[in-house]
Subunit: 347 residues, 2 copies
């Protein structure tokens, strides 16, 4: 059915958002106009999802709508920000009303959960892709960055690791073979497609965490960003990595070895959990704070290692020592070589 | 040459923007962190340019970089905002270093001109497309919207009309025929590809204009947005439409009829000029203000009509009258039928 661009916007995307939640003007003018409170700073993130690259062409529209927002909200969480507003640029090959309705149902299911308002965007024709730009608020000076981890800080991760990467594996091989039990396969795919942005946890991290990042490209690669920015190294205790019931069950069934699980957990990406550091002297208070939060069931987080000193490497030609950031993985106190490469679009 | 995503960002897009111009944190963390002054509101706009839809696949990379920012800055100008920050999501089929360097040269040429800082984005692989989200500041309560035009207000347009649409025509037919003189063809294509966002003029409109919009979809369609939102009609005096020297020259050479020029000026789109209304009693003061501005040479604007009362249309079935917004085009005081359809992606 042929519909005009403005009809589409009106029918699917435009909701009455004016004059509430800091939205002075929402969809329907040249720009949105937003109110940022005086004692807050604006956090902005942008992520694109491209058909055939970030998702399969036959992806479920509800899940695509959900995930295109989720990956952006995860970035806001990683800064300790409260999610507020979002712009959606969607490029569609054609107007498929059922598809669009489902996409919006997924998008707004998540938006409504965290009270995020769609304030604008663009609807264009072309190969399917979605670019979301999310905006949040953080108290001035309190944003969680990647550059303040200190030696001795404890490294935490929210939720479980490896399920997203296993979900991708299931999707890639789906028609060819059954790697895992049906229930576990579905659990992995759900972890990949219905990722939960850790916005509730993020609020509690402000004032405690010395650094934070979300694990979109893999624990190893994303931890390296913190280490490089903070000029330190890390030791990760593999026996402390948190795994889902589905992964533990597959290990038990001998469908997965421990070494395979480490690979997915450390290098796989697509987990969208928060990786953060807390100074040793604040860990008890942080845990006590978590224990007082009965309102939310998505606050689980686990100690997986600690921040250590950079290694000194002798540079032969310069006959001087250079400091490098590195990650030492150990299992039962023995070093383990876990190949460290995350997801990179152009490699 | 194969380069990683992070290398590309570092090499082409990342500049040192931290701690200046309201950028607390720029590229290089999960989010940018921005300072919005207490007495200002944030203006946000997002526009996508898709290969084969918004630009030709062999488009000059410099011009594409320039235009992808220009169309967004034009939206900020339409709100009376000062441009401040921009996010760039770019999807590339492959890494072509020469192309990327040229794209960035065009993008930053315009960004630097208006002191706009690139604060983040996303670099992904896929069919070429660019989504820019621009952010600006406007004094609280002073944003220029589409909904405050009043009967008797004078309608103005900045710059000239029709050149963008003629530029598109030249590009579409380029290899087949020469419609116009070589110099004029180039002038039309320049108008299409190197559009100037009217940010200098926008600053002067605040406090004077009762409504404003940028003409991206054609004078007729964009004026209709103001009329519908403001619940009024308009009369446009065709002999007052401003035309470039190139168009006037082509009329003189008999390559274009006046009627053809009206078509392009009224329905063509791609002009990215500002269309705004000023209350009759403020017009003199506004013109006087313009005359004091010797710093900029891009402030030209022209009176092209006035805001009128909505038409009352008898609705047969309801036996009541309904008010509709309409545009009356006149030439030498005679009504002219100028077919009113702008650009719509899905029609």
């Amino acid at each position: 059915m042929s519909q005009g661009e403005f009809d589409i916007i009106k029918r699917y995307f435009q909701r009455s958002t004016n004059k509430v939640d800091g939205v002075e003007i929402g969809i329907g003018d040249d720009c949105a106009i937003l109110d940022v409170p005086c004692d807050h700073q604006l956090a902005v993130t942008t992520d694109s999802l491209v058909s055939g690259v970030h998702f399969f062409e036959d992806v479920d529209a509800y899940r695509l709508g959900y995930k295109s927002l989720a990956v952006n909200l995860s970035d806001l969480a990683a800064m300790g920000a409260t999610a507020k507003w979002v712009s959606l640029a969607i490029t569609l090959p054609k107007i498929d009303e059922v598809w669009l309705a489902e996409f919006c149902r997924g998008f707004f299911a998540l938006a409504d959960k965290y009270n995020v308002k769609l304030i604008g965007g663009d609807t264009t024709k072309g190969p399917l892709s979605i670019t979301v730009s999310a905006k949040g608020l953080v108290k001035t000076g309190q944003a969680l960055t990647r550059c303040n981890a200190k030696i001795g800080d404890v490294i935490f991760v929210s939720g479980c690791l490896g399920d997203g990467a296993l979900g991708l594996l299931v999707k890639l091989l789906a028609t060819e073979t059954e790697l895992f039990t049906k229930d576990n396969q579905q659990a992995f795919v759900n972890a990949l497609e219905l990722t939960e942005p850790r916005l509730h946890l993020a609020k509690l991290l402000v004032g405690y965490a010395s650094s934070c990042i979300d694990i979109s490209d893999g624990l190893s690669q994303d931890l390296s960003h913190i280490l490089n920015k903070s000029q330190c190294s890390a030791e990760i205790t593999l026996e402390n990595l948190p795994f889902s019931d589905a992964i533990l069950n597959e290990i038990k069934l001998d469908h997965l070895s421990l070494s395979q699980v480490w690979q997915h957990a450390v290098n796989g990406g697509d987990d969208y959990e928060l990786l953060f550091t807390i100074p040793a002297d604040k860990v008890s208070a942080f845990k006590a704070l978590l224990n007082t939060q009965s309102k939310y069931d998505d606050l689980a987080c686990y100690e997986i290692g600690k921040i250590t000193k950079q290694k000194q490497i002798e540079c032969e030609k310069l006959t001087t020592a250079s400091a490098v950031s590195s990650i030492l993985f150990t299992y039962l106190q023995q070093p383990v070589d876990v190949n460290s490469t995350g997801w990179d679009h152009f490699k």
